[in-house]
């Protein structure tokens, strides 16, 4: 076996009462791709944060290239050639791509030579790995998919030999993910070592050499990828058999609950993002919107939920119009039975600095149940939060914990619990299972289907084709702001993939 690039020996890490890592041993061979899988909150990100110097282990040893090392800050890690692409991007929103890439790697006070050097280096990296990004684009104006490329470029720019990727494909389309994997393979061929955390077992099978499974803070197994199966991994992760595709019965579509007519939305620069889109969602059906990220789905959701101004068109909720001037009161729409799980849970769906219980009422804080006159009914809020924690198996089950300290999947469950438990008539969901583990995906999908079976209208936007196909009763494909096709759930991945790439659409136009 090749020499180990990284060895972790007996790593322990607790956060108060939560034991995030216990006695973890892990060895990653040089020049391989090593996968780490595990449920939400299993401790994967914590382990990698220890390796990257973000946290310090309570006990245990780290060896890099056979030598014991102390990694107290991420600068130590970078100096040892360890680079990390975080699950939650660590970019400065109002900096440009170039500025973000050199941030922390600047080496002259006026930045002139840094910038020049970075520009040519970026150019090379972008060409070499096909990571095209406009170096002068401002981060906050880039879609998430591109922001991630910047993260990867950042690590490569710092000369990473060992690259840790924490759920890199959570935000990517299948095509983008394939692209990423080609890059990773290329890096591996050049002798770099890659640690890949992902919830998508398919990706593990496709690209890793070895894979380790974590459960509730412990390392339960390590397998050679070729000698294991998706089923075995899922079972190891959750400790029980998992339905990888949720069963669902025939839908019984009822009356139209949500109707969108000729909706057109422009972004702040005046670019048309949603172009004359029309569709209906009936009670008792799930309509899925597939599409490559950045083709107008986000803007569509925002316009429907009253957050974004629409240029023209009409949206009817239960036969009554929604104010599309961008001045709609989302609170009023909630009262009318519209619940919204936004794509961006970190900035929109949650206030990360809040305690869990405070987030479990966000948007419903006007509700009498949570109030005593002008005051918050703290007891009721806590009881309600505990109730949701129980029902949705949110871990750790502490409603006083700061939301930022929950793992990604559990944060998503906090949002979903809040929105679903309000018993809305119409539920619109952006990326329902982004960053969520297989067990929780099963759970969330079951809940969404249960909502449907109760006669609710459900609109799902997801870049996961698998998810769209297994949930939806009807699939709409968006490309360049338009709905370019409607298919049934039996549509093949290839067929949808072509639509998503705009192929059919362009042919039709010619």
């Amino acid at each position: 076996m090749a020499q180990a690039a990284i060895e972790l020996i007996g790593i322990n890490k607790s956060f108060g009462a939560v034991r995030a890592n216990r006695d973890i041993n892990l060895e990653v061979a040089r020049g391989t791709i090593h996968g780490i899988v595990g449920e939400n909150g299993a401790g994967k990100s914590t382990l990698m944060s220890i390796l990257y110097g973000f946290y310090q282990a309570d006990s245990g040893e780290i060896r890099v290239g056979g030598k014991p090392v102390a990694i107290n800050t991420s600068n130590d890690a970078i100096a040892l050639g360890i680079g990390m692409v975080h699950q939650h991007f660590m970019l400065v929103d109002n900096f440009t791509v170039l500025e973000n890439v050199i941030l922390g790697a600047e080496n002259d006070p006026l930045l002139k030579s840094s910038i020049a050097k970075a520009r040519s280096e970026l150019d090379r990296l972008e060409r070499e790995y096909g990571l095209e990004v406009d170096p002068d684009a401002v981060i906050e104006e880039l879609p998430v998919g591109l922001q991630q490329r910047v993260e990867i470029l950042k690590a490569l720019y710092r000369g990473a030999e060992i690259l840790i990727l924490d759920e890199p494909t959570g935000v990517l389309t299948p095509a983008e993910a394939d692209h990423l994997f080609r890059i990773l393979k290329q890096l591996k061929d050049q002798g770099k070592t890659i640690v890949l955390i992902t919830h998508k077992l398919r990706e593990i099978m496709a690209i890793t050499d070895t894979v380790s499974v974590m459960r509730q803070g412990t390392m339960v197994a390590t397998r050679v990828t070729k000698q294991t199966t998706v089923g075995e991994l899922a079972e190891l992760m959750v400790g029980r058999r998992v339905l990888l595709r949720v069963e669902k019965g025939q839908s019984e579509a009822g009356a139209i609950k949500l109707s969108v007519k000729n909706l057109t939305v422009k972004d702040s620069r005046g670019v048309t993002m949603v172009d004359n889109v029309s569709f209906d969602v009936r009670g008792g059906e799930i309509v899925g919107i597939a599409g490559v990220a950045g083709n107008g789905q986000s803007e569509l959701l925002e316009a429907i939920s009253g957050i974004r101004h629409a240029v023209s068109g009409e949206v009817m909720l239960d036969g009554k119009p929604i104010d599309l001037t961008g001045k709609a009161d989302p609170g009023e729409l909630r009262d009318r039975g519209l619940a919204h799980v936004p794509e961006d849970r970190h900035h929109v769906g949650l206030v990360l600095a809040f305690e869990e219980n405070e987030n479990s009422i966000l948007g419903y804080h006007d509700d009498e149940r949570y109030l005593k006159g002008l005051f918050l009914n703290v007891d009721a809020i806590m009881a309600d939060a505990k109730d949701k924690i129980e029902k949705y198996d949110i871990r750790p089950g502490n409603p006083r914990l700061k939301t930022a300290n929950f793992s990604g999947g559990n944060q998503q469950k906090i949002v979903l619990a809040r929105e679903m438990e309000q018993d809305p008539g119409v539920l619109i969901v952006g990326q329902p299972t982004r960053g969520v583990d297989v067990g929780a995906i099963e759970f969330i999908h079951k809940r969404l289907i249960a909502m449907r079976d109760q006669g609710k209208a459900v609109l799902v936007v997801s870049v996961e084709l698998d998810e769209i196909r297994s949930l939806s009763d009807r699939i709409l494909v968006m490309f360049a702001g338009r709905v370019v096709g409607e298919r049934g759930p039996e549509a093949t991945e290839g067929e949808l993939g072509l639509l998503m790439a705009g192929v059919e659409h362009q042919e039709a136009a010619e």
């Binding site: 890490k13 607790s14 956060f15 108060g16 009462a17 939560v18 110097g53 973000f54 946290y55 310090q56 282990a57 309570d58 107290n72 800050t73 991420s74 600068n75 939650h88 660590m90 400065v92 939920s305 957050i307 009161d329 989302p330 609170g331 009023e332 729409l333 909630r334 919204h340 936004p342 961006d344 900035h347 929109v348 769906g349 949650l350 206030v351 990360l352 600095a353 809040f354 305690e355 405070e358 966000l362 948007g363 804080h365 006007d366 109030l371 002008l374 005051f375 918050l376 703290v378 502490n398 006083r400 914990l401 700061k402 930022a404 300290n405």
Partner: protein, 379 residues
């Protein structure tokens, strides 16, 4: 996450760091004292004794603290809504105008316990109005609140000068101030409370506004952490996008937060005007609004912290006065320098030592890192 360092436990966050900042401020101030050829240790003793040594000193310290509690709370309320209200100074000044109008017209007819509530309402209303205008300009027209509140300090100052040399000045008087209030406009003193503990007080302005300040501190705590409005303010303060999503109107929340902030600033005027001077004189706020910024930052925007920080600054004011009296080579200006140093280290450079302390914590006691989230209430 923007810092590569982990979180500190609560006791370090709220205890150790302020202590370190304060110590550094005093060390640097000590160097200044050495420079003018005095003994810094004796100076420190005089300062502390001047502030807490005798009953009169304590009463003065708490009198100044009262003023700073109001302005500190004012800054903090706005800050929880991520609004940087630099206009506390002007809002307090205009609050004084409200008090003047009430007192001038009613001081000889009403007893203090009727006049005081009226004056509270008037000062709060005038301060709120002065906070409302910049808030409106930000919410509706996008003018930045930092700029507009600064400008409104100047407008307040000019307006008050205009009124105090004109309309409000008694005919024939030379001083730019209102006539002295009588009867009901003189608030009861609290000095007897200190005297209960055996200390003697010659004369000091500590008055019931101190109690009002403590009540307001409690109410601000309630507002921020226990009311729906406070919840909305904090939501907006942390993430305007989340607030938008949650149906919280930006205009409404910005206006409300700034009006509350302005009201608290306005109420500050009660303390010097009705508790001490019994008139409204030119420039009676004299920088207390700006001190409020330091007090709020040092108190970590929490009412308990603000009360403690306010007492600290009260001590600096009172002890500083004693110091310049006892050590003539230390002038009033030097006292201002020392106060400035405290503001600099405790307020503006609050984060200077933090990364180092975090790094030290990370390497010595890894277990405590990150626990804050579980132990500390989101206060």
């Amino acid at each position: 996450m923007s810092t590569p360092y982990a979180k500190l436990p609560a006791w370090a966050d709220y205890g150790l760091i302020p202590l370190i900042n304060l110590s550094v401020a005093f060390i640097v101030a000590g160097l200044v004292v050495v420079l003018v050829g005095e003994n810094p240790f004796r100076a420190a003793v005089i300062l502390v004794e001047g502030a807490f040594g005798k009953g009169t000193g304590i009463a003065f310290t708490l009198f100044y603290a009262t003023t700073f509690i109001f302005t500190g709370l004012s800054v903090a309320v706005a800050a929880h809504c991520s609004l940087f209200n630099i206009g506390t100074e002007g809002q307090a000044y205009i609050g004084g105008l409200g008090i003047a109008l009430v007192c001038l017209s009613l001081d000889s007819t009403l007893p203090w316990w009727l006049l005081f509530p009226l004056a509270i309402v008037a000062s709060a209303a005038f301060g709120a109005l002065w906070g409302f205008i910049p808030a409106y300009l930000q919410a509706k027209r996008g003018s930045h609140i930092v700029i507009t509140t600064i400008m409104f300090n100047f407008i307040a100052a000019s307006t008050m000068v205009y009124l105090l040399v004109g309309l409000l000045k008694p005919a024939g008087s030379q001083a730019p101030q209102t006539r002295n209030f009588v009867g009901g406009a003189e608030l009861p003193k609290l000095n007897w409370v200190i005297e209960l503990f055996g200390a003697k007080i010659r004369s000091a302005p500590l008055n019931i506004c101190f109690l009002l300040a403590l009540v307001m501190a409690f109410l601000v705590w309630l507002l921020i952490w226990r009311t729906k409005l406070g919840y909305e303010m904090r939501t907006y303060g942390h993430s305007p996008k989340a607030a938008r999503y949650a149906g919280i109107s930006e205009t409404r929340i910005v206006l409300t937060a700034m009006m509350i902030s302005g009201a608290l600033a306005g109420m500050m005027a009660l303390n010097p005007v009705m508790g001490d001077q019994h008139n409204v004189a030119i420039d009676f706020v004299s920088g207390a609004g700006y001190v409020g910024i330091a007090v709020a930052l040092m108190g970590r925007l929490h009412p308990v912290g603000i009360v403690l920080a306010a007492i600290l600054f009260g001590m600096l004011y009172q002890g500083g006065a004693e110091l310049s009296f006892e050590m003539p080579s230390i002038t009033r200006d030097m006292i201002v320098i020392i106060q400035g140093l405290v503001i600099l280290f405790a307020g503006a450079l609050e984060h200077m030592f933090r990364p180092y302390i975090q790094a030290i914590f990370a390497s010595f006691s890894p277990k405590s890192v990150g626990m804050e989230a579980i132990k500390g209430k989101g206060a």
